[in-house]
Amino acid sequence: MEAVLWYVLTGTRGGANRARILRTLDERPRNANQLAEELDLDYKTVRHHLDVLMDNDVVQRSGDDYGAVYLPSPRAQSNWETIEEILEGME
């Protein structure tokens, strides 16, 4: 999981925005619309990043399709020190 987190967040073109999304979801779960607004990103971009994060089991969705909220997955939560380390380096 650690290697996945490092690659998805720091090795890809969209990594920085994925890191911002993850940090925002850690504050509290949100849906794609709220994320787009909070982070000033395009809705479609946010959906794409969420799909990649879900494919890699970093976030999970809860609720039905429309307006489902996303939150860090149990695997991400149990590796939160790694995520913290990645986020600390940012900015």
Partner: protein, 101 residues
């Protein structure tokens, strides 16, 4: 010479382009995250760029070696060299697909 020479040369050139694109992403991420993971990827890309640039230099530019590579190297060797370069291209295409997703 045979087609293998051209395939090997073209694959090396494509490898350099793919690696430059990857190095750009990893370099930018390194500046943003300041951590060793993107730095490691950047170093990996730099050495592979050097490797492919050196291969192209030997195949096309160097006055002694390019003559030797285009006349004296047997076809079996070129086939194997071509395979090495093409495997690398396939690997880099996959890596680029992940990285630009």
């Amino acid at each position: 010479m045979s087609i293998w020479v051209d395939v090997a040369r073209a694959a090396s050139a494509v490898n350099i382009l793919l690696l430059l694109a990857l190095a750009y992403v990893w370099g930018r991420n390194y500046l943003q995250f300041r951590s060793k993971h993107p730095l490691g990827l950047l170093i990996f890309a730099s050495f592979l760029i050097a490797q492919n640039a050196l291969a192209l230099y030997m195949y096309l530019v160097d006055p002694t070696l390019s003559g030797w590579f285009s006349t004296a190297v047997p076809v079996i060797v070129w086939r194997l060299m071509m395979l090495l370069h093409v495997f690398e291209t396939a690997g880099l295409v996959f890596l680029a697909w992940i990285t630009f997703d």
